[in-house]
Symmetry: C2
Subunit: 418 residues, 2 copies
């Protein structure tokens, strides 16, 4: 007997999280015998807690298909972390109550480490409360820091964006360096793991050499060594580009640019290390600089998403449904690298218990010995992830992204205060 499915987007969105939503909903529509309807949480898990569900059956096939090329979270996301089963018992019980009221038998949670923990706990409490729920995580994070999966949907597109943007800016700086800007700094995302920083390294390759200095969150900031590296590159090539992680920290673990405020997960809200590093270069080396902070632009840049990333984002969404209806529970579909050259991948699966709250950092051998560059092993890992361009449709000079109707499902329960 068919049950309904619940799908929600969690945490920072990406340019391809909607491609995963597309995969989930299109797969569900092919299995009407198992999944009657997909209800999406409006603003993520908050939609489930407040019984604010979106009826995706109101959306046309064309609208759902357009999610494949629309960045951001079409149903709304949220930063709202459920704690342990005891501390957040009220919330977990409410979720089961809502799911029971709407005959929801499948829970698809599209997010990162924290979300995988929530999905795991929900499957546990469902069993305890006599309401069995198939809980499947759908991996998503630009930070690329989920374990087991070879890479995380969302990352490849940011990687492509920062590598390409750095190359384009480098060409610009090279033109200006004789009399003007000699050092260009790009600040990139990645609080703890330097994957996005490493992607900046792909701006430089054999065919198009570009002098780069990278500042990883995994490598304690050493000002003297950093300045020596920048000075050497600038003297040798006339200019230098710097990619710096928002999470760059000194040897004591203190963030270089601590904004002082914290987000809902208790993470420090970052920003500003790019201009800081640029000022240090100017003050100590005297080079004229420019800096850029791409911020949301990097994770929303669907216009230049990686084709590989779009395909994998879609595939993990589709696989989540296929696995769930086969009864696989408390798992997350993963990307498995089958072969390196030619690059081949397939979908695997990992137990949520092995994924939840585990962060995957850059292996030390992906970073050059001096700490300022990427190794060939890193490059071999990264290059397949940025392959292919899957351009969105343009209309009147602008990308045409879909905005869904997001029609509500009628409520059945009393109000719930968050």
């Amino acid at each position: 007997m068919a049950k309904n499915a619940f799908y929600a987007q969690s945490g920072g969105v990406t340019s391809v999280i909607n491609a995963s939503a597309c995969g989930v909903i299109e797969a569900a529509r092919r299995h009407k015998d198992k999944i009657a309807n997909v209800y999406a949480g409006r603003n993520g898990i908050i939609g489930a807690l407040t019984e604010d569900l979106i009826d995706t059956s109101q959306e046309s096939d064309a609208a759902i298909h357009a999610l494949r090329y629309t960045p951001s979270g079409a149903f709304g996301s949220c930063r709202f972390k459920l704690k342990g089963l005891e501390k957040s018992a009220r919330e977990y019980e409410r979720l089961i109550e809502v799911f029971r009221a709407h005959d929801i038998g499948y829970f698809f949670y599209n997010g990162g480490n924290d979300s995988m923990d929530t999905a795991l706990k929900l499957s546990q409490i469902g069993s305890q409360m006599g309401y069995p729920l198939v809980c499947v995580g759908v991996p998503k994070t630009v930070d690329n820091d989920l374990p087991i999966t070879d890479n995380c949907p969302g990352f490849g597109s940011v990687a492509k964006y920062v590598a390409m943007s750095t190359r384009e800016a480098a060409f610009d700086v090279a033109s200006m360096a004789k009399t003007s800007t000699k050092v260009f700094v790009l600040e990139v995302m990645g609080r703890h793991a330097g994957w996005i920083t490493s992607a900046v390294g792909m701006a430089d390759d054999e065919e198009t050499p570009i002098p780069l200095v990278l500042l990883f969150p995994e490598i304690a900031y050493d000002e003297a060594a950093f300045l020596a590296a920048v000075d050497a590159k600038t003297k040798a090539h006339g200019y230098c580009c710097i990619g710096v992680s928002e999470g760059l920290s000194d040897a004591s673990g203190r963030l270089l640019a601590e904004a002082g405020s914290k987000d809902a997960f208790g993470h420090a809200q970052l920003g500003g290390v790019g201009p800081l590093v640029a000022h240090i270069v100017k003050e100590k080396l005297g080079y004229k600089y420019h800096w850029a902070v791409a911020d949301y632009l990097q994770r929303a840049a669907r216009h230049i998403a990686s084709g590989t990333d779009v395909e994998q984002a879609y595939a993990v969404g589709e696989a989540a449904v296929e696995l769930a209806i086969k009864g696989h529970n408390s798992i997350m579909p993963t990307v498995v690298r089958v072969s390196q050259n030619p690059y081949k991948w397939e979908i695997g699966e990992a137990p949520l218990s092995q994924v939840a709250n585990v962060e995957k950092f850059m292996p030390r051998d992906f970073i050059t010995e001096d700490g300022f560059g990427i190794t060939q092993a890193c490059r071999d890992y990264l290059v397949p992830l940025i392959q292919g361009e899957e351009y969105p449709p343009f209309h009147n000079g602008m990308p045409r992204y879909v905005t869904l109707k997001n029609a509500p499902v009628a409520k059945k329960l009393a109000e719930f205060k968050l």
Copy 2:
């Protein structure tokens, strides 16, 4: 009898200035009877002063063609302003000396207001010194502030980039606004003229409505009115995006973010008004914010250049040569808007004397009465300029841009100290 031509790139580069270089060189190669060879200045006019000329005949047709899709200045640009004929007499005389030594009869200068002034003065001193030189300016500036021409090559691509990036970031913020970021700020270029700021306004259209507040350099910053506009949009739509010009100033003309340093032209070097405005919003309205400063990324983003812009950049380069060999002197090819709907354009020409050192600001009726948006007239003007995508070739996931050999021409003269 064929003469050689000199071509140089001046000032801040763009994603399509090389398309103009491509137009110049390809046209010259079709007129070997008139133009024997094109020598490019290495690092702009400095290359002419120091007799550091690049022999473009060493480049294959394929390499020259690749300039059409390569951002930045392939021969190097510079920020080096020649002053009046008296103050800079030594430099002007040196230029004529170099041109005479290398049998250069044509001077093509690809730049903005200052460059058109240099080209004009050079044609005057050439006559005075008995060395007639055909001087043709090739318009280029992301600021879109040259007079007479309907628009400036370089601008349309930045316009497309900032409109598209704002739309993409707006989708991101809309997803997050329930529990996290509600206000997103994008700082854009444009020191005095708000053309690029106006382009942010195209992120919002009838099909894809987006709550926007724009801060133009032409409109004195009024904090109370600004905060009221942001608050109203955020309350009505749940989120708001802000586009702010780097040149935003208060009623007394003081820049909001004065970095204190000046560039070679005596312009203040700007940056940082984006984060400043974001902090004001947070402090006064309490909304969580993110901000981005695209900096060079916006003017180097050849990957998403406007098709119209690429065509026009090529056309003004090509026309410069065609006009020059017909003997038109001291002129600049312009873009003429022949019809609005359907958009049609053709190449015209303007005397350098009417272009040099004149800045074109936004007409007041392109900005809404409240000062925070664009009018329909502005939209009608802008929309044709961002039409079309002319993607560069990609290889291994990255755009393949050309780096020229830039072989030097043998020197004939004594050294010249700048």
